[in-house]
């Protein structure tokens, strides 16, 4: 029997990237006899990629202009969009808007006003599409896999709602009463924690690895309480740790996850 343990990147592909990426992710999930989604992936999904989509949608709502939103996309230093600025994607998107411009009829602008202008039309098409992708993605999160596991008592998983056209994510952080709900489960396996710490030490010293390493060190000290921000810093280590021994981690972030997974005897697969 094959089992996959779905990581955040695959969850985001399946729910937020309709088309080739979503199909590849869903095919990989459905190919396994059993697919497991930890709630930690939902938490990361909401605080990361879903938040970025909501930001993008909010810009379309508030500027009511595609050209102004495009300008904001270029300016904003949000990490997930960073790579896209330097890629040709933004230019391609801009070119697509220009390509469609002659289609708009002058008579429609005279008849319907600003709603018929190219800038507003593209803005609204993208706004409505993003809203739909966001809402359907969120609604579908617990239906994607055969099981959702590792519920987090301190994570509220609020529903999305709309207020004045903007999408409200609700709470994205945990609210532990004493400490993070994962802490006691992690501390039960000190050898795995040590193995993960050693693996992270071997990884490039980028900020996220430094934070992960620090958190893993502190976890091994019983006097330290694991905070919600430290829980977030653990990131990939959580998937390597909690993936069942007979399951494979399904991720698109193989480069970062494989060393951690192998350190604790787990395997990694990409869609």
């Amino acid at each position: 029997m094959t089992r996959v343990f779905v990581e955040t990147t695959v969850l985001a592909d399946a729910l937020l990237k309709p088309g080739v990426r979503a199909k590849a992710a869903k095919d990989a999930i459905n190919a396994a006899d059993e697919s497991l989604l930890p709630v930690y992936a939902i938490k990361e999904f909401k605080a990361g990629p879903l938040h970025h989509y909501v930001w993008f949608h909010g810009k379309l709502v508030t500027t009511q202009s595609w050209s102004k939103t495009l300008e904001q996309l270029r300016k904003t230093a949000m990490s997930s969009f960073k790579a896209r600025w330097v890629s040709t994607s933004v230019e391609a998107l801009e070119a697509a808007a220009v390509k469609n411009r002659p289609v708009r009829l002058k008579q429609l602008v005279e008849k319907y006003g600003a709603d018929a202008t190219e800038d507003r039309t593209v803005c609204d098409r993208y706004r409505l599409a993003l809203r739909s992708i966001i809402m359907r993605g969120w609604k579908g999160r617990r239906k994607l896999t055969t099981r959702v596991i590792h519920e987090l008592e301190c994570y509220p998983e609020d529903e999305l709602r709309e207020d004045r056209g903007l999408i409200e994510l609700g709470e994205t952080d945990c609210h532990p009463k004493d400490e993070c709900a994962l802490a006691s489960r992690l501390r039960r396996e000190p050898k795995q924690l040590e193995a993960l710490q050693n693996a992270v030490e071997q990884q490039p010293s980028k900020p996220e690895n430094q934070k992960r390493l620090q958190t893993l060190r502190e976890l091994r000290r019983p006097s330290k309480k694991l905070s919600s921000s430290q829980c977030r810093h653990l990131g990939d280590a959580v998937f390597a740790f909690f993936c069942p021994q007979d399951a494979t981690i399904l991720t698109t972030n193989e480069r970062d996850l494989r060393p951690l997974a192998e350190a604790v005897g787990k395997t990694v697969q990409t869609p």
Binding site: P18, V20, A83, Y112, D115, A116, L128
Partner: protein, 209 residues
């Protein structure tokens, strides 16, 4: 300045007009006659007396009445029959007719004629999208129809795809004020027949790393 010659005859007084004129629901440049989806139903009143208090149209009074609800009772007065609503109903009637004709042509093996009807449907959609002030649900579904047709890259949609277009257009005709969430729940209808419901350019952007 000299007055314009009064060469305009009142059309209602013209004998031949009264005997031959039939209101047409189809577009003027159309070679085909397209009828309303409800043309077989008896006409119903669509206005409410201005002086009638809104409280008189209660749920109980509606439930106990055997008569058909008017559109003004079904829809909020401020939104119903706005210019965009009227334009949308007109365009939707034409668009549904285009789908019906395309399906009939496909059944007869006349693929080019079917494709011509679909082309005429496609060019209606930008104007239909201009009526999106009716609501985000309306805009979502019209945009989805546009994306679906654009993604075909000029190929003629198959019978199932045209049927899906027709079902969505009929839904919009019946419920133009549907919510965005309701609209979302109908998108799988288009997706299930292989149609993409989001703009391809946006999807390319979102999928890029």
């Amino acid at each position: 300045m000299a007055a314009q010659p009064a060469n305009i005859t009142d059309i209602s007084s013209h004998a031949s007009w009264q005997s031959t004129y039939q209101p047409k629901l189809s577009v003027s440049d159309s070679a085909t006659v397209i009828e309303s989806p409800t043309s077989k139903k008896p006409a119903v009143a669509v206005t409410t007396p201005a002086g009638l208090p809104l409280t008189q149209v209660t749920k109980a009074s509606v439930a106990s009445s055997p008569r058909r609800l008017t559109q003004s009772e079904l829809y909020p007065v401020r939104h119903a029959f706005a210019p965009q609503h009227i334009a949308a109903l007109r365009l939707l009637t034409v668009a549904i007719g285009r789908c019906e004709h395309a399906l009939a042509h496909l059944k007869d093996g006349q693929k080019m004629k079917a494709d011509t009807e679909i082309q005429k449907l496609q060019v209606l959609l930008p104007e239909l999208f201009c009526c999106r002030s009716l609501g985000d649900g309306f805009g979502t579904l019209v945009a989805a129809l546009s994306s679906g047709l654009e993604a075909l890259n000029g190929d003629t949609p198959n019978q199932h795809q045209i049927q899906a277009f027709k079902r969505v257009l009929t839904l919009l005709w019946e419920k133009p004020f549907l919510t965005a969430d309701e609209a979302d729940s109908h998108l799988p209808l288009l997706e299930s027949v292989g149609l993409s419901v989001y703009p391809a350019d946006l999807l390319d952007f979102l999928a890029s790393d």
